[in-house]
């Protein structure tokens, strides 16, 4: 528990150099009692969020949605429609905020970028612009000619790279995948960790790969400009990690290797995001910031379909890590159908009448 035990900032940057040190560190983290963690998550789930608090939560949740389509059947048309919806989720209500990001396969990035960029800067945006002062710590000046997020109307463009969802491809392929997505305009890369290596205890391998992808997030300029153009979300695929102890270790491993976000799931295995898994990850980012001073975001993805679910996550963020993370820069929902439910609930709150799915766009 050395890492969390200290309130003084620690330099953990050397850990990645030695497999032994990395293992000792990860196995020295405090354990997670499954029953206790699940009970805490369930307790937070009983919070009753009503009226003004609910309205506030719904708008925040909309701004946190990574509106996602990751199907083999995705087409440019589908992606364009999705990007349009991301910008203007409820065309009938201009006060409705835009979502946090659009999330697509690398081959679909140009089509999404085309829609998002066309809207140009200065679009109404409820959220702080990406790269704003309160925003990400690694953001400074955007590289010239890069896919500056501000060019995307406030909506980020995320792409799942690294041979998503299995991650079973040679490193070179994954790096090329990543660079291509960045070059095509993605400003967020969602990578998957090598679960096989992690479960086999080859933490160094997992670490090195994350470092390499993080480097590739600089696109073709990687290593020259010295500054990544895209943020890295590291998918732990918690459904395959089997224990919360592993989730905690994988979270720390991803953060130590430079991940800007840790994300639960690809959405392509039977168990996706859950409240207790997210709780363990939130505790990890909280402890990591206490130890290093660096704040890392969290993204539960998959299986979050209703407003009620989303609000439970927001309550959990609020009561576990506090308001610092209650911002699209630090918390996202990887979801597709969630957005429409949020919109329906939003309308219900405004009008007092229950909404129906026919009144919200399908994309």
């Amino acid at each position: 528990m050395t890492a969390t035990a200290t309130s003084a900032r620690s330099d953990l940057s050397e850990l990645g150099r030695s497999e032994t040190a990395l293992r000792a560190f990860l196995h020295g983290l405090p354990g997670v009692d499954q029953v206790g963690a699940e009970q805490r998550a369930a307790q937070l789930g009983t919070r009753s969020i009503k009226t003004t608090a609910k309205a506030q939560a719904i708008d925040l949740a909309i701004r946190m949605v990574d509106l996602t389509t990751l199907e083999g059947a995705d087409t440019p048309g589908k992606v364009r429609a999705l990007a349009a919806k991301a910008l203007r989720p409820d065309p009938a209500d201009p006060s409705c905020p835009h979502v946090g990001a659009v999330c697509v396969y690398p081959s679909m990035v140009p089509y999404a970028a085309e829609v998002l960029r066309a809207t140009g800067p200065g679009r109404p945006s409820d959220g702080p612009g990406p790269g704003s002062a309160t925003g990400r710590p690694s953001d400074g000046s955007e590289p010239a000619g890069g896919a500056a997020p501000t060019g995307l109307g406030g909506v980020h463009l995320a792409s799942v790279a690294t041979a998503f969802p299995s991650g079973q491809a040679p490193l070179e392929v994954k790096l090329a995948d990543t660079r291509a997505a960045v070059e095509a305009g993605a400003d967020e890369i969602d990578m998957v960790i090598n679960r096989g290596a992690f479960l086999a205890g080859r933490y160094g391998e997992v670490y090195d790969e994350i470092v390499a992808i993080k480097d590739a997030c600089g696109g073709a300029d990687a290593g020259r400009q010295g500054r990544p153009r895209a943020h890295l979300k590291v998918i732990l695929e918690t459904g395959e990690l089997a224990t919360y102890d592993n989730v905690r270790r994988a979270s720390w491993l991803a953060m130590l290797a430079g991940g800007d976000f840790i994300k639960t799931s690809t959405g392509k295995v039977p168990v996706a995001a859950t409240l207790p898994v997210t709780l363990v990850m939130l505790e990890a980012v909280r402890d990591f910031r206490a130890a290093t001073g660096r704040q890392v975001g969290v993204k539960p993805a998959g299986g979050i379909r209703t407003t009620k679910d989303a609000i439970k996550y927001l309550v959990m963020v609020n009561e576990t890590v506090g308001p610092d993370w209650l911002d699209p820069d630090w918390f996202r929902f990887g979801a597709s159908s969630l957005l429409n439910d949020l919109l329906m609930q939003r309308t219900k709150l405004k009008t007092g009448v229950y909404a129906g799915p026919d009144y919200f766009t399908l994309d």
Partner: protein, 476 residues
């Protein structure tokens, strides 16, 4: 900042009458001398109802009714029929649980979250569990045909009014006894609603009698010569007085009294769950819990981290309206209890311990005490020895497992203890040595009708719950 809007549970679900009589022989009756007292809502000091105060004649009437019911109806009744009445009661409690939960929170001050999610489910489960025993007593290990004792006098506290009622009445009835129960004077309302449930269940008259009142009523009940069994839950002081009062009599006595439990956190604990366990251990039910983990024993090497996490967590506790669904800590049950908490915390500060509470706004009316921890506490401090029965945690440190055991056992009490460590063999080593009736390892304040509960040493004798709980009501 994400502020939760008020989310009050509706109190319209429960209909509180302006006044209540005593429940004797199946009906509500006025007390002989007409005395009464008021039950108030401790969160607002609003009067909820006028309650009859039972005198010695009323107690006598209730004991006679119970005796008659024991001899003529309940004693001779086959176990399978007693079982069906208890199952009925369990079902009615489930059906009316929201009403009972709201009433409990109004009268006691506990958060609706707890009365709804903890007390009421356990109450129903307790009746359901003991219902099943009624026709199986011959298999309980007390001989082929164990007999009931007769009339049970039961005196219960105000911290879990309905749950303590269930712990007392369910096993007593299952084994064939009849009861006269005295609820605490600050929390009589759910017991009186339970009396209505008995009527609704068509429970034969006199099997359950509820006599409301304060200490004198309880004394009259305990000392009544027609009583065969006394079950008491409450303070060690009163328990001692009852033990003296029954000396030389044939009355069988079980006592569930105070505690000063150690919650022991080792350096290899699952720290986030341990912090939850500490919070649950001492702030659950405003700390009005006899088995509360009121002494935190934390290994020196992690004391700072654990305290830091604990304070951060305490800052998230929501203190306020018990009926708000998001309230974590409700009102202190009475002005007297609040005074007691203040007296002991003042003593803690005066004796040099450092007091800390998160910033929290307390309502103006009603009885409130912010969640509090004391650090720099030693075994010699009053706050480390005396039961505070409030949301106040004393933090002590230790260096080795043996020292933790020694400090944990260094108290006249022995009700419960907590151990937090990821090392299995250490849990078992510790559990063997802790002199406490319930040991929670990597969890705290868990209850179940199948699980025996009760103390060592001055925390009382006898067990409630499980097969063991039958013994208190059988002539064995």
């Amino acid at each position: 900042m994400f502020e939760y809007a008020p989310a009050p549970e509706s109190r319209s679900v429960v209909d509180i009458k302006p006044s209540y009589g005593l429940f004797v022989d199946g009906t509500f009756v006025d007390p002989t001398d007409g005395g009464s007292f008021k039950s108030i809502n401790p969160a607002s000091e609003e009067v909820l109802a006028e309650i009859a105060e039972g005198g010695s004649q009323d107690v006598d009437r209730a004991v006679r009714a119970a005796r008659k019911a024991y001899e003529q109806v309940w004693g001779p009744m086959p176990g399978r029929d007693r079982a069906k009445y208890l199952y009925r009661i369990a079902r009615i409690i489930q059906e009316r649980s929201r009403e009972l939960a709201v009433l409990e929170s109004l009268d006691n001050g506990k958060p609706i979250k707890e009365s709804r999610d903890v007390d009421l489910p356990l109450v129903a489960a307790h009746f359901f569990y003991y219902a099943g025993w009624a026709d199986k007593l011959g298999y309980a290990g007390f001989g082929p045909d164990p007999k009931p004792l007769g009339v049970a006098a039961q005196v219960i506290p105000w911290n879990f009014p309905l749950l303590m009622l269930a712990w007392k009445i369910a096993p007593a009835l299952a084994t064939g006894n009849t009861v006269v129960l005295k609820p605490a004077e600050t929390t009589p309302l759910t017991a009186l609603l339970f009396a209505e449930i008995c009527q609704q269940a068509d429970l034969p008259a006199g099997v359950v009698n509820i006599v409301t009142g304060a200490g004198e009523t309880g004394r009259a009940l305990v000392e009544h010569p027609g009583v065969d069994k006394i079950a008491f839950t409450g303070s060690t002081e009163v328990g001692r007085a009852i033990a003296r009062a029954v000396a030389g009599s044939r009355k069988k006595l079980t006592l569930e009294l105070g505690g000063k439990a150690a919650n022991i956190v080792f350096d290899d604990a699952p720290v986030d769950q341990a912090v939850e366990g500490i919070v649950n251990g001492i702030f659950f039910n405003q700390g009005h819990v006899c088995c509360a983990g009121s002494r935190l024993l934390v290994q020196e090497s992690v004391a700072e981290t654990v305290l830091e996490s604990l304070k951060r967590r305490m800052a998230r506790l929501r203190v306020g309206d018990p009926l708000d669904k998001n309230t974590d800590i409700g009102a202190i049950n009475s002005a007297a209890q609040l005074a007691r908490i203040r007296e002991l915390t003042d003593a803690g500060a005066a004796e040099g311990a450092q007091q800390w509470s998160p910033p929290c706004e307390l309502p103006e009316r009603g009885f409130w005490f912010a969640p509090t921890i004391f650090t720099g506490v030693t075994q010699a401090h009053r706050i480390a020895r005396e039961e505070i029965f409030g949301p106040v945690l004393s933090v002590l440190t230790f260096r080795t497992p043996a020292e933790a055991v020694e400090k944990a056992n260094n108290t006249p009490y022995g009700l419960s203890a907590g151990i937090w460590t990821e090392k299995g063999s250490r849990i078992l080593w510790m559990a063997d040595r802790l002199r406490a009736g319930v040991v929670w390892a990597n969890t705290f304040n868990k209850f179940d009708p199948t699980s025996p509960f009760g103390g060592y040493k001055e925390s009382g004798y006898g067990r409630e719950g499980g097969r063991h709980g039958l013994e208190a009501y059988l002539n064995v």
